[in-house]
């Protein structure tokens, strides 16, 4: 058997390559894309309320419910809005930092800043979210810092989710922008200056257009990670639902409905990636 197999592969380079590729391809096609297909198929099934048994006959009821009940639209828009806000915030925060690192800082400072940016990634995601939960509690650190100037912390809610998501994913925005800015030769900035460009003009007409695809590349991370997060909302916004929470709370009793709702972020991401591709983000990943 072994010898015959060896004979089969002998001299057939393409067969050998194909066989080697089967592993990663199998991972991608069967486990990764396959599970997405199962998800899609399941979204057209229904479920027995008591036994939890799947009824594997085609129905579009789940999609009807998603379209007819306003709550699902509210939740989807809320999630997309927070994802967009967190992305925008991260872009605004990340750009100056990345610019300083790429163009101004000395190699030593640059190294230190890189470590500082990567440092939060060393600690576990949950630890960070629980830390924020404690900080945002009434009478917590944030209240304590703001009360002397007559303000209150945001407390728990959508604002808290926006803050925490922006914090969590900031490194994923800084790094692509930093890499993008590194690629812009300094001579271009000098050329712009020589041609009479004021700093703001240089930034607007030279740096920004060249670095924008990198910002979009970073935004793919911040946007998709926020879109799929359901633990942060659970911990810092116990009274509002996001897409992930609705899927989570439905997956035991009504897997088909949860599957149908899970198609929403997929569609959002396909649209987002389509736009990102047009803006040239994929050359910067």
């Amino acid at each position: 058997m072994g010898r015959r197999l060896a004979d089969l592969f002998h001299g057939r380079t393409s067969l050998q390559v194909g066989g080697l590729l089967a592993g990663p391809m199998g991972w991608l096609v069967i486990l990764y894309l396959g599970s997405l297909v199962v998800l899609l198929v399941a979204s057209f099934w229904s479920v027995n309320a008591v036994s939890g048994e799947l009824q594997k006959t085609f129905t579009t009821d789940n999609y009807h419910e998603l379209l007819n009940q306003s709550v699902y639209k509210t939740v989807a828009f809320r999630t997309v809005r927070i994802a967009a806000l967190a992305t925008l915030t991260d872009a605004l925060l990340a750009f100056p930092i990345a610019f300083y690192m790429a163009k101004i800082a000395s190699p030593r400072v640059k190294g230190l800043l890189l470590v500082a940016i990567l440092m939060p990634l060393w600690s576990f995601y949950l630890v960070k979210v629980y830390a924020w939960q404690t900080m945002l509690a009434s009478g917590g650190v944030i209240d304590w810092a703001l009360n002397p100037i007559g303000l209150n912390g945001p407390g728990y809610g959508s604002t808290a989710v926006w803050l925490v998501e922006s914090y969590l994913w900031l490194p994923y925005m800084i790094l692509p922008i930093y890499a993008g800015l590194e690629r812009i030769p300094d001579s271009m900035l000098s050329a712009s200056e020589d041609l009479g460009g004021k700093p703001w003009t240089t930034f607007r007409r030279v740096v920004l257009p060249l670095a924008f695809p990198a910002v979009v590349a970073g935004s793919i991370f911040t946007f998709s990670l926020t879109l799929g997060d359901y633990i942060t909302p659970q911990l810092v916004s116990p009274d509002t639902q996001f897409i992930g929470n609705v899927i989570y709370s439905n997956h035991t009793n009504n897997l088909p409905l949860a599957s149908a709702f899970a198609v929403v972020p997929i569609i959002v991401m396909v649209i987002y990636l389509g736009i990102a591709r047009r803006l040239g983000a994929f050359e910067h990943l």
Binding site: S14, L21, A22, A49, A137, P238
Partner: protein
């Protein structure tokens, strides 16, 4: 590279062969956990223990000394039987059903809103009560109930019962509430806007229905779990009006403890476990006391829990041993006082047993515990509506016109907005 392109037709073939091999491997792995057929018959005898037991418990039911030193009835069981217990705490009935369906667990302390689903889904096996000697002395009004017996077949051993609690921070809420109105009447709830804590589970709709049963008798609600369209919509509307004032839909008891400790939560529905934990931590909380019979004026929703055994349990003998152990008088006397519930085991109420348990737990002697918790008072339990799975079949002359659990789940999503 050019050599690779020599026979392009072979490349797909290679991929197909490789994929087929992978599929075979996956399929092979998948069939290894099949435990050989389904058993719908209860076990006939108990063999020697398998050395291991995986169970799903409500918080406070399966203490092994790790959370509070000295509070431990799991370790003696392990020593006695050689069954090493692996405890998984479930936060909601949904989660418990979910966990049971993974097939990784031998048993569960299931509440009434999980039992029917577990039986219907074929996740649990009937229980041979003859193999559980302690079953004999369990309170008769807990035996053969609709949430533990199906078509005349026993599917579990009763564990204990209790009412969901109304709890408040005494430093933030005054006067002391005696009615659920404080969180369910929008005019009163407004006062604690953002600080109201509500159990995050579709079954909470029954709390609203129970409230309406008392406050809007014209709706004709008889059973808060069997609601027709009008009754259901009224309950859902009430909870939608409550929504703006809710600060926290809790599904993790630990999260609720944190939020009551910090003062973010000031009044809400809870379990005895959180209440006693907070009291022990010196957080100023209170709940209706013995003077009001431990429940607000409308009554309360509650639970009556049942130990069930998984149909394909890997350690069935250990599970039977556990079911007998956990319903023995000394253990029940400890659990009931640690958790704060009425025991299922009548002999656990013997004053000497209660005091021995107090000593073991380091609590002051409380020989009247069972009286306070109405353990042997069937009349009291008429005001407590035990969780059960809502079905389309109303169970009375209304026929199949009631909202089933799927309706409850989607309504709950809607309520939370």
């Amino acid at each position: 590279m050019s050599r690779l392109r020599a026979h392009p037709a072979w490349m797909p073939a290679g991929i197909v062969v490789g994929l087929a091999a992978i599929m075979l491997v996956i399929a092979g792995c998948g069939s290894s956990n099949n435990n050989g057929g389904s058993s719908t018959e209860a076990q006939k005898s108990i063999g020697p223990g398998e050395g291991k037991l995986n169970i799903i418990c409500w918080a406070g039911y399966c203490e092994d000394g790790t959370i509070t030193k000295g509070v431990d009835w799991v370790s003696p069981f392990e020593q006695e039987t050689g069954c090493q217990v692996n405890v998984k705490i479930g936060d909601t009935s949904d989660q418990m059903v979910d966990l049971m369906r993974t097939g990784q667990y031998d048993g569960v302390s299931a509440s009434g809103n999980a039992t029917a689903r577990l039986v219907e889904g074929g996740d649990v096996a009937p229980v041979n009560t003859d193999l559980v000697p302690n079953y004999k002395t369990i309170f008769p009004d807990l035996k053969d109930q609709p949430y533990n017996t199906f078509d005349g077949v026993n599917y579990g051993i009763p564990h204990g019962r209790g009412a969901n609690l109304l709890m408040w921070r005494t430093d933030k809420v005054s006067p002391s509430p005696t009615s659920w109105s404080i969180i369910l009447d929008p005019n009163q709830a407004k006062k604690y806007s953002g600080h109201i804590s509500v159990y995050d589970d579709p079954i909470y709709i029954a709390d609203a229905a129970m409230y309406l049963k008392a406050h809007q008798p014209d709706l004709g609600i008889t059973d808060p779990y069997e609601l027709n369209d009008d009754q259901f919509n009224a309950a859902v509307d009430l909870l939608k009006k409550q929504h703006p004032y809710v600060g926290d839909y809790w599904s993790s008891y630990l999260k609720q403890i944190n939020l009551f400790t910090s003062g973010d939560d000031q009044v809400g529905s809870t379990w005895q476990y959180q209440y006693f934990t907070l009291l022990a931590d010196k957080v100023p909380v209170a709940a209706p006391g013995p003077d009001t019979g431990y429940v607000p004026t409308e009554g309360a929703t509650g639970w009556s829990d049942t130990w069930m055994i998984a149909k394909n349990a890997k350690h069935p003998n250990c599970m039977y041993k556990w079911m007998n152990y956990v319903t023995s008088a000394p253990v029940q006397a400890q659990i009931m006082q640690w958790f704060g519930e009425a025991p299922a085991q009548s002999t656990a109420c013997d004053p000497a047993t209660v005091e021995t348990a107090d000593k073991a737990l380091g609590l002051p002697p409380d020989p009247k515990f069972c009286d306070n918790y109405h353990a042997a008072d069937p009349a009291f339990w008429k005001r407590v509506y035990f969780w059960k799975t809502p079905l389309a079949d109303c169970g009375d002359d209304r026929g199949n016109s009631c909202k089933d659990y799927n309706d409850w789940v989607s309504a709950w999503t809607e309520i939370k907005g």
